[in-house]
Symmetry: C2
Subunit: 139 residues, 2 copies
């Protein structure tokens, strides 16, 4: 995810409006290295905008995802999580505490894709590597 000014510019360029609610969400995501669910973000946003609705948070997350500014992570079957770091990296998912964490690169190196991003006829848009198990804190 770009820095706030760049995001604001990108929204304006796309004919999207900048509201205080949206700005708060941008800031929450920017400072966040967890992998929050929509509801996590909503709860934090409530502290700043006590009247903000879940719908607004949800729709803003969708917009950011569609613009490619954040990633939606689908590893927790119970809910989607979001990641403001869009560079290639992988995740661990703890089935006890449901926390998603970044996997230090180097700890689990994965094959490079070919230059055209095609593997066996399949056009790869993203590679998701999830190590599912139990994290250090839950052990």
């Amino acid at each position: 995810m770009k820095d706030i000014e760049a995001i604001v510019q990108r929204f304006r360029d796309s004919g999207l409006k900048i509201t205080p609610q949206r700005l708060s969400i941008f800031n929450l995501l920017k400072d966040n290295y967890d992998h929050p669910s929509a509801e996590d973000i909503y709860n934090k946003a409530l502290e700043i905008h006590p009247t903000i609705s879940f719908t607004t948070v949800y729709k803003t997350l969708q917009t950011l995802r569609d613009l490619g500014e954040i990633l939606e992570i689908n590893i927790d079957p119970e809910r989607a999580h979001y990641d403001s770091v869009t560079d290639d990296h992988y995740h661990t998912f703890c089935t006890r505490c449901r926390e998603i964490e970044d996997l230090m690169s180097g700890l689990y190196p994965v094959q490079e894709l070919p230059d055209n991003n095609v593997v066996g006829g399949f056009d790869v848009q993203s590679v998701q590597v999830h190590l599912v198990g139990v994290c250090g804190s839950c052990n």
Copy 2:
């Protein structure tokens, strides 16, 4: 997933009963190299048992998953899919047709885990590698 007799034995050994409905589900899974959702399996089962309920299919899938005989794949945010092949292998997920397919081993080789299955303090129970994109047929 083991062959049918072994599954039947495993169920009996665990105090679980063998019903015609369950046997049909075992057979559907055994012959299946797709990655069906619970509803897919339910629809096929209906052709054999016109009165079978979704609940029965659902609960049997849970039991099989808990026994480790099938895997639940969480890559499609809209629904869980199941895989009767429990050996290590990876998947492609087409965002257009929502088909999950096996990734030929060799096309995208992945790092081996250390012997103790621990990566950076995280105790790995399974590794899920998903190539998300557009499949050959949808291109």
